[in-house]
């Protein structure tokens, strides 16, 4: 296992290095550069000024040379300066990373805590009323667009009832933990409602498949009751495919919660990546996207380790 982990960490470093070049090259291919934006902001600028600025910032050099310069600086700990926020990249990125991890963590915990038991209950009585009711909610959650649901939540809870804030992370001036918690309720609810249906459906399918296996009949033939059959024999087997789905969602939620973050004015990674790309903020976009890559890699590694823990037939060397 130690050797497996070491190999995977080494692989991850290689993937990150390749991704950093790919992202750098792709950003370089985008029309326009920061100097164009400076020109449009300052009508008195002459072509000579622009050329001088291009040389100063190094954007006149070929992409490979620019990438090499960036990589050297990055390895030395200098990730550059965000043009958009006028601050070092990490100073901008770390708060957004913290916000996203809170949002992602709460959403995952909640949607698993609701979706997995709901899926198991549905699988125990397939095609019953309970099953149909659970499926109805699951499909509703999957089908309703996140932006529509988000707006609906704001209208109901912030406008009509006025019990929760419509967006942001805390009241101006700051009022402590409970104040911040209040700001999290609606975005977490929105993301949870969007992902819980998928978890329910996957868990239901995996559990139904597992309950058809021969070893479930063996357990019943031993006199095991329903609870023992489901929790002691089926659940661990049924979790194996579900873990894959959770791992995939990990990466998606990290950088893909853009719509939710936008609607609730929540300063997370999705919004940061979007803004930095739109604003030609190369340094920030590059590092933010690399963080998204890293989180996806970590999610997959956690899934692999979880497989081995769940299923003794899987061993890593």
């Amino acid at each position: 296992m130690t050797r497996f982990l070491a190999t995977r960490v080494a692989q991850s470093v290689i993937v990150l290095a390749l991704m950093s070049f790919a992202i750098y090259a792709l950003i370089g291919l985008m029309p326009g550069d920061p100097i164009d934006l400076m020109i449009s902001a300052d009508p008195k600028m002459t072509p000579e000024d622009a050329a001088r600025l291009r040389e100063l910032y190094g954007v006149d050099k070929p992409v490979v040379e620019r990438y090499a310069n960036w990589l050297m600086a990055a390895l030395g700990g200098d990730l550059g300066y965000s043009r958009l926020y006028a601050a070092p990249v990490l100073d901008v990125l770390l708060p957004a990373l913290g916000n996203t991890l809170i949002l992602l963590g709460l959403t995952l915990v909640l949607s698993l805590a609701i979706g997995l038991p709901a899926g198991v209950v549905a699988a125990l009585r397939p095609y019953s009323r309970t099953d149909y009711a659970i499926n109805l909610f699951a499909f509703a959650g999957i089908s309703v667009p996140a932006f529509w649901l988000g707006l609906l939540l704001i209208i109901v809870f912030a406008v009509i009832l006025g019990v929760l804030p419509a967006g942001g992370t805390e009241t101006v001036g700051g009022a402590g933990f409970w104040d911040q918690a209040k700001y999290l309720v609606l975005p977490v609810a929105n993301l949870t409602l969007a992902s819980v249906g998928g978890h329910t459906r996957y868990m239901r399918a995996a559990m139904m498949e597992t309950l058809r296996q021969d070893y479930i009949r063996t357990a019943r033939a031993k006199g095991a009751g329903r609870a023992r059959v489901v929790l002691g024999h089926a659940l661990r087997n049924a979790m194996i495919p579900v873990v894959t789905i959770i791992a995939l969602q990990f990466g998606y939620l990290f950088s893909g919660a853009l719509i939710t973050e936008t609607i609730f004015a929540y300063p997370g990674m999705g919004k940061l990546i979007f803004d930095s790309i739109m604003g030609n903020d190369f340094n920030l976009a590059l590092v933010a996207l690399l963080f998204a890559t890293l989180v996806t890699l970590i999610g997959n590694l956690l899934a692999d380790v979880t497989y081995a823990w769940l299923d003794p037939r899987i061993t890593y060397r």
Partner: protein, 332 residues
């Protein structure tokens, strides 16, 4: 075949009486009866062999005794009398107390019948934990002891391994240990050797005989293979398309089968030193349970069938020598 010892002949009170058992499967084309009026007795310490082709209702009959028939199948009639109760009338909770404790089962596929994510030892010990409220250490020790009894080397170490780390033969031994750990009165063995190689088959059959002598368990031994049945059974019951067509003491049935179907089954057995030509086969195929011939279900494949056979289904009637047969043409 060696002659049966005297003790095997001695009739004793039945421990399990099955009367008119009927299992119906709902299909797209209507209800079909996979087991239709099956009746038999199991006696302590003796083995009843249940033989028939694939799809004749052997497995369904066995599962019905434990009320484990999978949907869309349902038990739609009959009684299973055991210890003064009709098992078919018990609550599910009461049935759980019987399964694994009083009546247990060995399945055909040792590969899929074990849970892949639990250790062999835990799976063997589980029945003790469920039924006797045994503690973990106590149940584990009993599981190791049982593994030793069924002839698994290094039982203490083996108990900690997972099913995929064992060979098929070892797994089947472990399954027998799992079935016997609570010292049940009845063991149902559904094709326990079919998935194994021939050399391992013989070992498993020997082991089952040994365990029967040690624990005095009554065995319902199911197989499609009459050769295997003849080695194990004291009494044999032949099923065809959901019905019992013949039941007799093993030696009598093999030496002198009464039903044309049984005669056909015995003729298809390869024999040592007799001929080198083609093996005989029963003409035709097993009928579709949804489209049975009129009258006797075997009439369309039977060399002796006449209009009387096609008019009405022959009932299972008693013949001399403690035998039963469902055939108008059966000559004693």
């Amino acid at each position: 075949m060696e002659p049966a010892p005297e003790s095997r002949e001695a009739p004793s009170d039945a421990i399990l009486e099955v009367r008119g058992l009927e299992v119906t499967f709902a299909t797209d084309r209507g209800a079909v009866k996979a087991a239709d009026g099956v009746s038999f007795d199991l006696k302590p310490g003796l083995t009843l062999g249940l033989v028939g082709e694939s799809g004749c209702g052997k497995t369904v009959t066995a599962l019905a005794l434990l009320r484990l028939v999978p949907p869309p199948g349902r038990i739609t009639g009959g009684r299973v009398l055991f210890g003064g109760d009709d098992l078919l009338a018990l609550s599910e909770r009461a049935m759980e107390d019987i399964r694994g404790k009083r009546i247990s089962m060995v399945f055909q596929e040792p590969t899929t019948a074990f849970n892949p994510v639990l250790t062999i030892g835990d799976q063997i010990a589980e029945a003790l934990v469920i039924h006797d409220g045994a503690g973990r250490a106590e149940a584990h020790a009993a599981a190791v002891g049982m593994l030793e009894k069924v002839g698994i080397p290094d039982p203490a170490e083996r108990a900690g391994t997972y099913p995929h780390q064992m060979s098929g033969g070892m797994r089947q031994r472990a399954m027998i240990a799992m079935a016997l750990i609570c010292r049940p009165d009845i063991l149902i063995a559904d094709e326990p050797t079919t998935a194994l190689d021939v050399t391992i088959q013989a070992q498993i059959l020997d082991l089952m005989g040994e365990m029967q002598r040690e624990f005095g368990v009554a065995i319902l031994f199911i197989s499609h293979d009459l050769a295997v049945i003849s080695e194990m059974a004291d009494e044999v019951m032949v099923m065809y398309a959901g019905r019992v067509v013949e039941r007799a003491p093993a030696d009598a049935l093999l030496a002198h089968p009464l039903h044309p179907y049984t005669q056909g089954l015995i003729e298809t057995l390869p024999r040592h030193g007799v001929g080198r030509g083609r093996l005989p086969a029963i003409p035709g195929t097993v009928p579709d349970l949804g489209a049975l011939p009129d009258g006797c279900r075997f009439s369309d494949r039977c060399p002796l069938a006449d209009d009387g056979c096609r008019a009405a289904e022959p009932p299972l009637t008693q013949a001399p020598g403690g035998r039963w047969v469902a055939c108008y043409k059966a000559a004693p």
